[in-house]
Symmetry: C2
Subunit: 241 residues, 2 copies
């Protein structure tokens, strides 16, 4: 895949890794069986344990986040306008998650394994998610400005990642609700554009008039004695009850 495997052993390794990425991204770590992976790789059942020690070891080696990091590097150098770079990031990330032709299987495995911990989750967090959060955090800081609180910025990050991951995560359900749904290049770009528009508006409100708005809301009920430590908001219901 990445380079020509010269010896027969290296070819077997490569075939196993490809088959494993395919199977893990489709059925999850638990759902994918060693036997099916070996069948797809045209290798013996014992091959996984011979080459990778165990199923866990196979997963660990199948995870390759180089494309994800490369995407972040090219993004930094792409444009000086942080809003444009956010649009690019969302677009590239969605292509990795959804595009059938050049989708990054490790990213899909990552998306699958977010929910239920796998022996490899620590590696995923360390090598993929933590750097991704750092990258996206800096980018959002440029857009939102220095006055926005760290917690609010973090929640904006979650809003963006949540929107992106939703389309991969809920794909089986969306397919049942809208039969005939398929993610072509065109649809993915449309979705990415929507998420970017939606999120830039959201960041604008949170970073712009956010603090002022909240202040005004609080002062409408001036007798409030600062109940919790981190009140911030969350009193939408009380306002109308």
């Amino acid at each position: 895949m990445m380079y020509e495997a010269r010896t027969a052993s290296e070819q077997t390794r490569a075939r196993l890794l490809d088959a494993a990425r395919e199977a893990f991204s489709q059925h999850g770590f638990q759902g994918a069986t060693v036997r099916e992976i070996c069948r797809r790789a045209e290798a013996n059942v014992a091959a996984v344990n011979y080459h990778f020690g165990s199923k866990d070891g196979l997963l660990a080696e199948a995870l390759n986040f180089v494309p994800l990091k490369a995407m972040q590097l090219t993004n930094v150098k792409a444009d000086s306008d942080p809003e444009v770079r956010l649009r690019l990031f969302i677009r590239d990330f969605m292509l990795m998650l959804l595009d059938e032709t050049n989708g990054s299987l490790p990213c899909r495995i990552m998306a699958r394994e977010l929910a239920d911990p796998t022996p490899a989750l620590d590696k995923i967090v360390r090598e993929a998610i933590a750097p991704l959060h750092e990258f996206l955090g800096k980018l959002l800081r440029e857009i939102a400005g220095e006055k926005t609180g760290e917690a609010e910025l973090c929640r904006c990050m979650h809003s963006i990642l949540g929107q992106c991951l939703y389309y991969r995560h809920s794909h089986p359900v969306l397919q049942r609700l809208h039969p005939g749904l398929r993610y072509g290049r065109q649809e993915i770009e449309t979705i990415a554009g929507h998420i970017a528009d939606f999120s830039l508006a959201g960041i604008g409100r949170i970073s712009g008039k956010g603090a002022a708005l909240r202040e005004a809301q609080h002062s409408r009920r001036p007798g409030r004695p600062e109940a919790g430590k981190t009140t911030e908001r969350g009193d939408a219901r009380r306002k109308i009850l």
Copy 2:
């Protein structure tokens, strides 16, 4: 749970259902074992098959979306302002997904099973997700107005649901990134408030100047011959390359 079980058999059934909801929401359908459920319910291993026919049957009966529907009903009657009702919806939905004290286990099971199809996914889609989409669709239509396209409105819905589900879905990862994270009542209300603010701003941009903005952008490159059928946007990169 819902009413006092009178006979011993009904008590066993109720204990099995409670234990199943707990186990399924924690480990997923595949991950939860019949043996562990029966151990938690202090029942024999054969009890599941005696009372529910199979593990699948147990899942089907464990799913109970009455609280979810009740939430939608009370929401409709709560206020006339659709923006306030969206705030309430997000708040109540997040409490169902995250609050330890009165969280709705069936909703968490639903969130878990979105990704990989289960024998019960059809029931989940029919009884929970489809009605939820219909409810939220109508609510967003009130907010966005009649001029917003159906596809754009649908994407707004996905943006909101994606943000909400992210916190449940990615909880294991977020916990590793931010040790000591816990979702108390206060934090959940803060998060729900953020998602509401963020989303209302997003809807405002999409429904308001969305069409006009897009029109202006297209007319900047007037020689474009309407390439695809549903172009809409997705040309963020081409703009700068």
